[in-house]
Structure formats: C-alpha cells, structure tokens
C-alpha cells in the first residue's frame, strides 16, 4: 500500500514542472500543454484524497476538471489559430498589440 503522501509529492512535482513551463516557454502551444500538466497534477491530488477517504466524490471533481481542460484547450487553440492567422507568430512575448 503506497501512502497518500507519495501521490501528493508526484502531483507536486508535476505541478511545479507545469508552472515552470508556463513561465519560461515562449511558444503559446507549449504554455497550453503546461497548463494541461498542471490540471493533471490537480487530478492526481483529487483521486489520491478520494482513495484516502474512500469516497467517490474526488473522481467526480476530476471529471469536471477534465471537462474544463477540454473546454480550455478548444478555446485556447481557437485563439491561437486566429492569432496566428493575423500576426504570423506563436511567441508569447511578441503578442504585444495592447502594449505601446
């Protein structure tokens, strides 16, 4: 039997790697992928605690998180396609139309 703390540390590692990806990468698609990693880490936490207390509600919340991830990926990638069509770039630090 693996202690719940171990799952928390795996989730923590995935979360931190995802945050590193969001703040250091320039490519918007990779930033979106890092957000997926973060959501995945959250799911591991939810399911691990669900296993700990023996209730299935954590699974339900994980399903909601997956639904949100799907919606976020669809909208985010739609924005990326629209932006790329207009500006021909995918780099987050070149997206500065609002800055002058």
């Amino acid at each position: 039997m693996i202690p719940t703390g171990y799952y928390l540390f795996v989730s923590l590692a995935l979360f931190t790697i995802g945050v590193i990806g969001v703040v250091t990468r320039r490519n918007v698609i990779v930033i979106l992928m890092s957000i997926e990693l973060i959501l995945n880490a959250v799911n591991i936490n939810l399911v691990a605690f669900s296993r700990l207390v023996g209730s299935v509600e954590g699974h339900v919340f994980a399903i909601f998180v997956i639904t949100d991830a799907a919606a976020e990926a669809a909208v985010g990638l739609g924005i990326i396609i629209a932006y790329f069509r207009n500006r021909e770039t995918l780099l987050a630090d070149e997206m500065d139309i609002l800055k002058w």
């Binding site: 931190t16 990468r25 992928m33 799911n43 399911v47 023996g54 399903i63 991830a69 669809a74 780099l91």
Partner: protein
C-alpha cells in the same frame, strides 16, 4: 512489492516526460511527451482504484485533447518556430520563482503531514464498483454542476468555432 514497482515506474515516467514536455525544442516532441505523461497519470489513476477515470483519461485526454493539440500544431507554421529561441528572456527568474513555489509546497506538505490523517486509507472496497458509484454521484449530488458543465462545453465549442473560422468579409474590407 509489485505495487511499489508500478508506482515508481508510473511516477517516474510521468515526471520524466513532464520535464521533457517543458524542455523539448520541437513542439511535436512536446506533444508526444505530453501524451506519455498523460498515460502515466492514467496508470496512477488505475493504481488508486479509479477505473472509470482511467478510461476517461485514455479516451478523452490522450485521445481527444491531444489530437486537437497535434491538429493545431500541424495547422500553424512549424519550420519557423524550429529556429527560434524557445525560452523567454526572464526564464531564469521564472524558473527561480517556480522552484521557490515548489519548495514552499514541499515544506507545506512535509510540515502539515503530521496533522493530516494521511496514514490509513479507507478499504479499496469502498470505491467498488467505480463506474457505478461515479455515475450515481454524478447524477444525484452533482446534477446541477453536471448540467452546467454541459453548457460550458457548448459555449466552448461555439467559441472555438467562432474564433477559428475565417472572417472573409473583414479581410476583404481591409484590402
């Protein structure tokens, strides 16, 4: 014993491929490593007696969402981005702050561990049969969030179509 080996295998695979997602230069490689990380997470779900989530993770995440990502990667220009610097100028500051955040969370878990009842998990039989229990909970206690999630998906679908479609009239007016 087998349980420990499987856990370390899946955890190591997930963390290793997550690191490769962030560090890979080519976006397609990032996507492939992300699929590996998601599959490893699915394995962790299976170990936690979440069979339904395991299947959902495989079909929806690794199957659906990643296909979407790969589609978009193929739609946008790949050759240009291969020659660009992939990390932004303040990457060292971001890395430092993210690591500080991670260390903070490690300390929080390590200190708070004694206060949390992390020792004795409930018997695995309380989560069986997984799919039936998830379905019953989803359609009784969480009926309203479930319906709201369906509306959210509809809004996201319409939003994605509206944003990704070509706006011919405006382009014509500008030219």
């Amino acid at each position: 014993m087998l349980e420990q080996i499987l856990f370390y295998f899946f955890a190591g695979l997930a963390i290793l491929s997550a690191v490769l997602v962030v560090t890979a230069k080519n976006v397609v490689h990032s996507a492939v490593f992300l699929i590996t990380a998601l599959l490893a997470t699915a394995g962790i779900f299976l170990q936690l007696h979440a069979e339904f989530l395991f299947i959902v993770q495989l079909i929806l995440y690794a199957g659906g969402i990643m296909v979407l990502f790969v589609f978009v990667i193929m739609l946008v220009n790949l050759d240009v981005s291969l020659h660009q610097v992939q990390f932004n100028r303040q990457w060292w500051l971001g890395l430092l702050l993210a690591l500080v955040l991670g260390a903070h969370l490690v300390i929080a878990i390590a200190v708070g561990r004694s206060g949390l009842p992390l020792g004795q998990p409930a018997p695995a039989s309380s989560l069986e049969p997984s799919t039936q229990l998830v379905g019953r909970t989803l359609f009784t206690s969480y009926m309203v969030p479930f319906e709201i999630a369906s509306v959210l998906l509809l809004v996201a679908m319409i939003g994605a179509v509206v944003m990704a479609k070509k706006q011919r009239r405006e382009v014509g007016a500008k030219q």
